[in-house]
């Protein structure tokens, strides 16, 4: 029996404290090497990542919509969204479909592929322990979700994937890698290896990090880029900075370094806007000085309803007019 050696495993600390070590992962990576969005957008698998609350879902849907309107068959994927029907592929337009990927369903399908649709497979999938492992066990859970995407890529021209936010999204790739390294011998090992090869190959997969023009999200985006480059050294991510305040002409003389304001609170709306734009300029100038490529999308007045449609439509228009896709 082959004993997997623990040297293959990510050290426990990097599993437990990935947040804390993220920034130190690959100090040699020059972020100026990251590609512009236009270079990654045509990849077959496009993973949209970023921290929580930056608008990944709307941006990824807008990208999917734009690409599908060019006549390509697109599958937009999200994971275990409690507000969407689970597991079924649903047509949104003749060329655009959505999938709310569900681990339980994906596990069943995977088992069906591997052991055939039989009474035995039924017993296996219906087994309480197996259900527990597929739904609750980090590792198997992620492997199964990513496996579903990997499998669906045969059926579409493009897959645009709305990843869970930063840490959890990274853990999906990390767990898959740990499984591939640890559990040798079975077909799961082979599939995990093949998946990682696809995800690391810039001819097949691309990564987009969505951020906001504020210091913390920008800093975390750079950390995320470093971490992704550790996982997939040949496949660097592109950046989208979302929710940039609409530019106001004639402000040039009024912009100040945000650190010079005596009070971080603004008095009225005009002052807030002036300061907000100054802040964004200041933050993005630091990126330009470091030659970090990024695309930007404007802040769309948030709708009052829960429907994302108006935002998605508006973002899709921006993506088109700015020539990003």
């Amino acid at each position: 029996m082959q004993q997997p050696s623990s040297q293959f495993l990510e050290s426990p600390c990097s599993l437990w404290c990935s947040h804390h070590s993220m920034g130190d992962k690959n100090p040699s990576l020059s972020l100026s090497q990251t590609p512009p969005l236009t270079q990654v957008i045509h990849r077959k698998l496009l993973f949209i990542t970023g921290k929580g609350g930056v608008g990944k879902t709307a941006v990824s849907l807008a990208l999917a919509k734009t690409v599908s309107e060019q006549g390509l068959r697109v599958l937009w994927v999200t994971f275990e969204d409690p507000n969407r029907p689970a597991g079924e592929i649903k047509k949104l337009s003749p060329t655009l479909s959505e999938l709310n990927c569900d681990a339980g369903r994906a596990f069943e399908e995977y088992a069906g592929l591997k052991i055939g649709i039989s009474k035995l497979a039924h017993i296996f999938v219906g087994n309480k322990l197996m259900q527990y492992l597929s739904k609750a066990a980090p590792g198997i859970h992620e492997l199964v979700l990513l496996g579903k995407i990997w499998h669906e890529r045969q059926n579409y021209d493009r897959l645009i994937i709305d990843m869970p936010s930063t840490g959890y999204g990274l853990a999906m790739f990390q767990s898959t890698r740990n499984f591939a390294r640890l559990f040798r011998g079975g077909p799961i090992h082979k599939d995990a290896e093949a998946m990682l090869e696809t995800f690391g190959d810039p001819h097949e997969s691309g990564y987009v990090i969505v951020s906001l023009p504020e210091e913390t999200p920008l800093g975390e985006s750079l950390d995320l880029a470093r971490f992704l480059s550790e996982l997939f050294p040949k496949n660097l991510p592109a950046f989208i900075v979302n929710r940039m305040f609409p530019q106001v002409s004639g402000l040039e003389g009024k912009k100040r370094n945000p650190m010079s304001w005596p009070n971080p609170l603004a008095a009225d709306i005009t002052e807030y806007i002036t300061r907000r734009i100054s802040l964004e300029d200041h933050n993005m100038r630091l990126w330009r000085d470091d030659h970090i490529a990024f695309s930007s999308l404007d802040y769309i007045p948030p709708p009052l309803s829960e429907s994302l449609d108006p935002i998605v439509d508006s973002l899709a228009r921006q993506i088109k007019t700015r020539g990003y896709a």
Binding site: N127, M130, G167, T216, P246, V248, R275, P302, P303
Partner: protein
Amino acid sequence: MIDDLLKSRKILITCGTGGVGKTTLSAALAFRAAMLGKKAVVVTIDPAKRLAGALGLSHLGDEPTDLTQHVQEALSEHHPELGSLQGQVWAIMPDTRKTFEAFLHEIAPNPATAERIMRNPIFQIFTNEFSGTNEYMALERLNALVQENRFDIIILDTPPSRNTLAFLKAPQLLARLFEERLIRWLVLPTNKLVSAGMRKALGILEKLTGAGFMTHLFDFAAGLFEVQVAFTANLRGITATLKSTDVGFIMVTTPSPDTLQEGLRFIEQVKEHQFHFDGVALNRGLTYLNASPSNPDRNFDAAFEVVRAIQKREKLVLEGLEKSKIQICAKVPELARDVHSVEDLFHVAMAFNS
């Protein structure tokens, strides 16, 4: 409102999804408690750099750090009008790995068992930070702080999560690992009590994963089997602490169309656990801005439209919460710049309920 909570509770736990400004708000709560004369500590498991950076420190450690002097100096230099701190403000960044090791040693019958569990690769994968482990370790560290009885009030900033409810559900999530039935299936796979179906299923799993995986899986279950009783007792103790009237839960959120539903779900969960709900803290609001004198500058039109839409949404959220009788414990304004310093945190602390 927030001051009543800071005076009456001994522990305030802030819950919320990533990106709502939980860490900043938690630190500001500790500042405010110190201004009220309390000896306050903020416990944060968020990415280290942020809070430490805002406080001007290179790092925070697993033991509480006294920030009082540092904060007092910044206060006297920039805002002498605010007077001086009557109390103290401390901060701590628990080392979850260290806590976890100590925890395993505590619940294991002997050190060898603890080491064996920690070395098991499946256990390492299972206990990565999205399985509830970090949350549970935060509670462990909290428990230790409570035992020490050094502070008047502890503000616990919960780990970032996908979902506001994650923290409340974390102990149960981790408990599932220790579920007796699950362990029995795996510890006794050849036992006659195990059904033929289970044996078949395990056989298929072995074919799919290879023999190495199964060896580790059984070893993993055997390890859990040994600590299960102690873990369950520990879980009961922690749950009892959280149910006490010394502890209040605050939901931190930014105003959005989902806020009301999020709040209702949160309250339902808190009630189900028999914990105490202390209100919604609405962060990053813009309704505090005075309306600008009529806007003659057409260049501002698009930006104005964005601000007004954000304000309108916030008002709807406030009305919705009020209508559903959901308590709002704090309204915190959106700052026009990133929180950078002790002074900025002060502005947040001073602006509660503005």
